[in-house]
């Protein structure tokens, strides 16, 4: 299907998110859309998929016909389907029920027929699902596949994928790309939105770059990476040189710690973490790294073994005890676990400080907030509620809440969904804190390059097994990718870290 966007404008209050974008995507191509956070990519895609409506005067033309889409449902009737960054499904339900939900069907769905259709479609695209299984047993990557199938079934001819490679493994990514590459042969159009250059370069037939709400350029292969980066940011950006850690005394020590939850068992982890050191945790989502991190924070109690922080045995102590000893945990779900929606930035900073007396000194709180906003470069005011901030600014706000003194910072996906400039900024702040306070960092990331770039040593998790600490400087992305996928592991028994 041929997609033509003509003079697309969109205002959100005073913000001009799309400024007259003109883009034609011929049938049977994979179109990449690049841009940093806030470049207007998501807005443009939401307009194309009917989630929001563009300002008057803008036109969406499908196969030569101007169309007006006032909801995702009407978009899918025209054949436009969107795959969201977070899968929109119903985890506690069966796969088949989830599948049936989106279909226009009678009051009593014909399960048998639907099962047949489902299996046929799955086979055609090389997916394997048990339709009677529950959605919450699937990985993020599998849920994506399920969503793609649902859109196919609904008759989508234009697929919009918004940052689909976030949070899925390397092999799932390969599979996703292989699937997507089949689409153009059938005359379908794929629009692939990302800020990951590598993905776009590998997949797309053509790339359009957005910056500040405008279309700043279109290119075709062969791609020139530094040119693309320059178009995205308007200047040249690099990650910078690796900085070797200056390591000091032992901060955290795990002695033969075993952890257990309903799904996983991790046995006998031993690890010494020194001040100034950064440890990256790599692995597929749900391989045990989350549980390990929560054990470091005191949120999960070890089944056996000892957890020693700065010489104090904290085994089995509560999270709040760990926190008093200088362990800070920044969860990935910022608005669900990290911050309190409805409260302002000032409120957050006041809450994070030790109370002085009974009454809050408003003036001091205001000043504290202004200082932090400035030093952490948060785009917001002291009275801004946290949910009104963008993702990157929420992340900065979380960093600004780190207590002092610190001994250990635990971060879950600290830069997920952020553009490269924010990533660099956040890591420079983290490294600063590390140096100042003699703190250590443990972080989880599904971005392998980030893991290798910023950690001194790394631990790889694979279905409950933990690797020896690996020197990040001498490891390549390929080696790491294979370990994450469960290849090249030493024989069982020696899994001590």
């Amino acid at each position: 299907m041929n997609v033509e966007l003509k003079n697309i404008h969109k205002h959100f209050g005073k913000t001009h998110a799309n400024r007259g974008i003109n883009l034609t995507i011929p049938s049977g191509t994979i179109q990449g859309i690049l841009g940093e956070n806030g470049a207007g990519k998501s807005t443009l895609m939401k307009i194309l998929s009917g989630f929001i409506q563009a300002d008057p005067g803008s036109e969406v033309i499908l196969d030569g016909k101007p169309v007006y889409m006032d909801s995702p449902a009407s978009a899918i009737r025209y054949g436009v389907g969107m795959l969201h960054q977070d899968p929109l499904d119903f985890p506690p339900m069966r796969i088949l029920d989830n599948f049936l939900l989106g279909l226009p069907s009678s009051f009593f769905p014909n399960r048998k027929e639907a099962t047949q259709d489902f299996n046929l479609l799955a086979k055609e695209y090389g997916f394997s699902f048990d339709p009677e299984n529950y959605v919450d047993s699937l990985t993020v990557g599998e849920r994506q596949q399920l969503e793609i199938m649902r859109l196919l079934f609904l008759g989508a001819r234009v697929f919009i994928l918004d940052e689909p490679t976030t949070g899925i493994s390397a092999s799932q990514k390969e599979k996703l790309f292989a699937t997507l590459k089949k689409f153009p042969e059938q005359g379908m159009t794929v629009i692939f939105v990302s800020h990951k250059l590598e993905d776009v370069e590998n997949l797309c037939d053509r790339v359009a770059v957005l910056r500040g709400g405008e279309l700043v350029g279109e290119t075709k292969p062969p791609y020139n990476t530094s040119k693309l980066v320059e178009m995205m940011f308007g200047k040249v950006v690099t990650l910078g040189e690796r900085q070797p850690a200056q390591t000091g005394d032992t901060v955290l020590s795990f002695q033969n710690v075993s952890l257990e939850d309903t799904r996983l068992k991790i046995k006998n982890i031993s690890l010494d973490l020194r001040a100034g050191e950064v440890i990256g945790l790599a692995g597929l989502e749900g391989s045990g790294q989350g549980m390990f991190m929560r054990a470091c924070a005191g949120l999960v109690r070890p089944v056996s073994g000892k957890v020693i922080l700065k010489g104090r045995d904290l085994t089995g102590k509560s999270y709040h005890t760990f926190k008093r000893e200088g362990v800070n945990f920044l969860p990935a779900a910022r608005l669900e676990e990290g911050l309190v929606p409805g409260l302002s930035l000032t409120d957050h900073f006041v809450l994070a400080e030790e109370p002085k007396g009974i009454f809050i000194d408003r003036a001091a709180g205001q000043k504290l907030a202004e200082d932090r906003i400035k030093s952490f470069n948060i785009r917001g005011t002291p009275t801004s509620t946290v949910e009104s901030l963008s993702g990157g600014n929420q992340q900065r706000a979380e960093l600004a809440l780190l207590q002092s003194p610190l001994s250990l910072i635990l971060l879950e996906h600290p830069t997920r969904g952020l553009d490269i400039e924010s990533v660099i900024y956040i890591w420079s702040k983290l490294k600063d804190r590390c140096r100042q306070d003699g703190a250590a960092i443990i972080f989880i990331s599904s971005d392998l390059e980030e893991v290798l770039q910023y950690s001194d040593r790394l631990l790889v998790f694979f279905s409950g097994r933990v690797s020896e600490p690996i020197d990040a400087a001498t490891t390549s992305v390929e080696q790491l990718g294979q370990l994450i996928g469960g290849k090249n592991w030493p024989e069982k028994g020696g899994a001590h870290a």
Binding site: H320, P331, P341, L343, H348, L351, P355
Partner: protein
Amino acid sequence: MLKTRFGGVLFQAVAFVLAMSFVSLILVAVGASPLEAYKNMLTGSVGSMRKLAEVLVSFVPLLLVTAGLLLTFSAGLWNIGVEGQIVLGAIGTTWALRYFVDSTLPPALIIALSILAGMFAGALWAAFAGILKTFGGVNEIFGGLGLNFVSTALTLYLIFGPWKREGVASMSGTEPFPDIFSLPQLPDLRISPWALGIALVAIVVVYFILQGTYFGLRIKAVGKNFRAAYLLGIPTWQYSLYSFLICGALAGAAGALQVTAVYHRLIPSISSGYGYLGLMVAMLINYQAIWAVPVAFFFAALNIGSIQLPIVLKLDSSLSGVLQGVLVLFVLLMEGVRQKFVKKV
């Protein structure tokens, strides 16, 4: 403009007009004149000092309950059990008065001790709901509802059992206490300035707790995001429990004042539905303490103003309840409409 405070007030004004029109329609439908009805309610509530004093008698428990509920709502809790907490306050006070009735302590001290006993009993009842919630995983709405029924049964048991009047037990309640155990009232009026003072102090204290203290900010954080509050280092379940305890104590005070300043005995319907009415007031003011006094006063005025409707206009006095309920519904509805508007703009 719609996002500003003024915009919010505008929408609430519209809600008020809609609610009044809706009730007027009902009145017209039953063949009554809305204007006459409203006029009667107005003169029946603030038409004379006597009437005004009656309104204040109703205003005191309503304000106390609302003040307490502002804390539990801020903590994200639906303290439906507030009704039972009023009842337990009344029972606690009656128990203390009975205990001290023959003692030689000065009456003022006895009254003070009895009110404290009522607050303690109310807090205890709230603690049950809180503990069920925190340690038993029982939703506070269900726990509170259950405890409300228990409290009613307990009142009846006491009135018809151990605390029954000499000779004959009756729905009119326990034996009235001697006058010296009543809070002093204004000459010729039923309102006790002491009771009014206690209620006003309570709302002011709650206002400052929520606006300016670490305690209040933490309660709000717990209410808005329990998990994040825990990760930020706030002892979450303790704060939930504190809010229950304070709300229970204030509801208990309302019950205590019903005994010491209004009925001078324990009666079966001692709580008079002030708990549920307080929930409505708290919702109507969107949990903002600053509006509690005028709105609670307005609701109390509706209650009292409707009393003479049956006599004058042959209308049922439950009209005030209809008006209160409709008002809350329209305000919530308009808030929903406003949210949609704000999103679109």
